[in-house]
């Protein structure tokens, strides 16, 4: 177990394409950090650089206080779970679990003890003598996890490990990974493009975009106070409504409070911050036509067209809604829930 520290990490490919533009990140011992971002944002590359599978062009990465830039993956004492599991198809499950221990010259009885313990924890003991092709996707996923935990490494690296599973299994495995990581207390870096997975797993969330870090913080912090337009749009589902201030001002009977910081030209409104009906005094009242209703069960997502605004306004309404499509709806936005942004800088004000 160890802290991981990245300072000024950059990656440029031989062709001259720069994919990582200077990342500074300190991951505390035992912490679970999730790197999240759209595809091509460099999150997987960064993870592979920590693992030692990609070279580091500039900057340093240290694990447990020692700079590992020049070390081979094996010498970094990390374990990685791959997206396609990367199980050795010609070995049994036991063979897969033992491989890393054998390579390190672990004594036979300790190998057996560790493999059996991991098999117990992950409930794969009945499959130890099967080949990976005889296992289901979820079982393979467990074996891949097992291969990581038997080694008792300083850190776990997860590269989108759940993206090949169906939605239900993904939910289950997510909980298991969280529980396992908590009980082992091993420092973990987890890469995903799924923001729900990111929110639920992370001690701290790192949102990446175009090779830069957009924001680092607790999931709820990022949700409550997104530092940039990108984070605002990326975190939260359905996504935040980002609306041009000029267009709101131009609506009849609507005025924005003077308390908004100077330079605000876009305001963000979370779909679940909206109040149905006329709202309290001081709220911003809006009216629109319901274009589409998505009943999700406990809540409904309303897609409302407000005359004068260019985009569809998304509202999360709690409980069952009595509204109908093409009907009129009144709603209000409490002023305190507005997120002020500047378009030119893309930052929060």
């Amino acid at each position: 177990m160890a802290a991981i520290e990245l300072s000024g990490v950059k990656k440029t490919y031989p062709g001259g394409a720069q994919v990582i533009h200077g990342i500074d990140l300190a991951i505390a011992d035992g912490e679970m950090v999730v790197l999240v971002g759209p595809s091509g944002c460099g999150k997987s590359t960064l993870l592979r650089m920590i693992a030692g599978l990609e070279s580091i062009t500039e900057g340093t990465i240290s694990i447990g206080g020692a700079v590992v830039n020049k070390r081979e993956p094996a010498e970094r004492d990390i374990a990685m779970v791959f997206q396609n599991y990367a199980l050795y198809p010609h070995m049994t499950v036991r063979g897969n679990l033992e491989y890393g221990l054998k390579n390190r010259g672990t004594p036979r009885d300790e190998i057996d003890a560790r493999v059996n313990a991991a098999a117990q924890t992950l409930e794969i003991a009945p499959f130890l003598d099967r080949k990976p092709r005889q296992l289901s996707g979820g079982q393979r996923q467990r074996v891949a996890m097992g291969r990581a935990i038997v080694r008792q490494p300083k850190a776990f690296l997860f590269d989108e490990p759940l993206s090949n599973l169906d939605a239900k299994l993904r939910g289950q495995m997510r909980i298991e990974i969280r529980r396992l990581q908590r009980s082992l207390g091993t420092t973990s870096v987890y890469v995903t493009h799924d923001q729900l997975e990111a929110m639920t797993l992370a001690d701290r969330l790192v949102v990446m975009n175009g090779g830069h870090i957009e924001q680092v913080g607790k999931p709820t912090e990022l949700y409550d106070r997104p530092a940039s337009l990108f984070v605002a749009g990326f975190i939260g589902s359905p996504p935040m409504n980002l609306i041009d201030v000029e267009r709101i001002r131009a609506l009849p009977g609507v005025s924005l409070p003077a308390s908004l910081p100077a330079g605000t030209d876009i305001v963000g409104i979370r779909p679940d911050a909206v109040v149905m009906g006329k709202g309290a005094a001081g709220d911003i009242p809006l009216t629109g036509t319901v274009e589409l209703i998505e009943p999700v069960g406990g809540e409904s997502h309303l897609y409302v067209r407000v005359a004068g605004l260019e985009q569809i306004f998304v509202i999360v309404a709690q409980g069952r809604t009595t509204l109908t499509e093409t009907g009129q709806v009144d709603f209000a936005v409490p002023v305190a829930t507005l997120h002020p942004f500047n378009r030119a800088s893309g930052r929060r004000l």
């Binding site: 599978l53 094996a74 990390i78 374990a79 396609n84 990367a86 198809p89 390579n103 080694r151």
Partner: protein, 294 residues
């Protein structure tokens, strides 16, 4: 229930469609083979006027002949050496090329060229290079203190034909190994690297086992190549000599039948050869393939 079988309205049509292929097979494969089996039971008089049916005498003479037993051992030695040498070298080349990212296409193209050269031409090329009188290789070896003359030294002649025959087969093996290596997922070698296996260990414990279907296939192809397709190379380089040192079975069939004009013995030898192919292939498929599965 839907079946994948095609049904023809006319009962004769399927036979008509199969006829050309069947005709080719019958005329060019089955008929000559049957003729060989028939001739192997016969003896022709020296002037070709009459043939007599002599049961298994051709066979019993064959196996009593020390020259034939010598040819059998030479063939085994030749086939095993060619297979091992060409497969080993091509695997090394394939691994080397797959490690080079840039210009690996150029290397691949260049390494495939030898396969396009006809066996006899291969033989002549090597005949020139190793010619004890005018060749460059003996000249260089003389400088290193080795006296090379495969016209008198049987062992040197054997080494010589093994090198020539392997050289031609390397390109073929190389292509299959390159394709095989590309189908081993990179994440597996990465996982093994993280699991603490060095490059050599990664190759032997992960890549090589996953390559086994390719290796097995090439093993069969190479043994068959060495035993049956090397006639041209032998003929152009050593003609089976010196003193029968490189007289492998397939060359002996030709030498005894067409040069020695002993049709009966030659036919018996080709039947033995056929039996060897059938047995070898059957053994390989039955026993080796089972261990290849993972």
């Amino acid at each position: 229930m839907q079946t994948k079988r095609t049904t023809f309205p006319n009962k004769l049509l399927p036979y008509a469609l199969l006829a050309p292929q069947l005709a080719v097979t019958l005329i060019f494969f089955i008929w000559p083979a049957a003729q060989a089996v028939k001739s192997s039971f016969e003896r022709e008089d020296p002037f070709g006027f009459k043939t007599t049916f002599i049961w298994f005498e051709n066979y019993s003479r064959l196996f009593a002949d020390p020259g034939y037993v010598n040819s059998l051992t030479k063939t085994a030695m030749f086939a095993v050496s060619v297979t091992l040498l060409s497969m080993t070298l091509s695997l090394i080349l394939a691994v080397a090329v797959s490690r080079v990212l840039r210009s690996n296409r150029a290397y691949t193209t260049l390494l495939v060229w030898p396969y396009a050269v006809a066996p006899v031409v291969v033989g002549i090329l090597w005949w020139f290079m190793f010619n004890p009188t005018i060749g460059i290789a003996p000249y260089l070896m003389r400088a290193a203190g080795i006296s090379w003359n495969h016209r008198v030294d049987g062992n040197q002649a054997m080494i010589f034909v093994i090198i020539a025959a392997s050289w031609k087969q390397i390109s073929y093996n190389f292509l299959f190994f390159v394709a095989g290596l590309q189908s081993v997922p990179q994440s597996l070698t990465e996982a093994a690297a993280i699991d603490g296996a060095g490059p050599f260990k990664r190759f032997w414990t992960i890549v090589f086992p996953l390559l086994s279907p390719t290796t097995f296939f090439l093993l069969i192809v190479n043994i068959n190549y060495a035993m049956f397709d090397t006639f041209g190379i032998i003929d152009a380089t050593t003609s089976g000599g010196p003193n029968q040192a490189t007289n492998i079975l397939v060359y002996k069939v030709y030498a005894d039948g067409f040069l020695g004009l002993n049709i009966g013995s030659s036919a018996a030898q080709s039947v033995v050869l056929m039996a060897i192919v059938i047995v070898l292939t059957a053994i390989q498929f039955r026993y080796v393939e089972r261990r290849v599965q993972y």
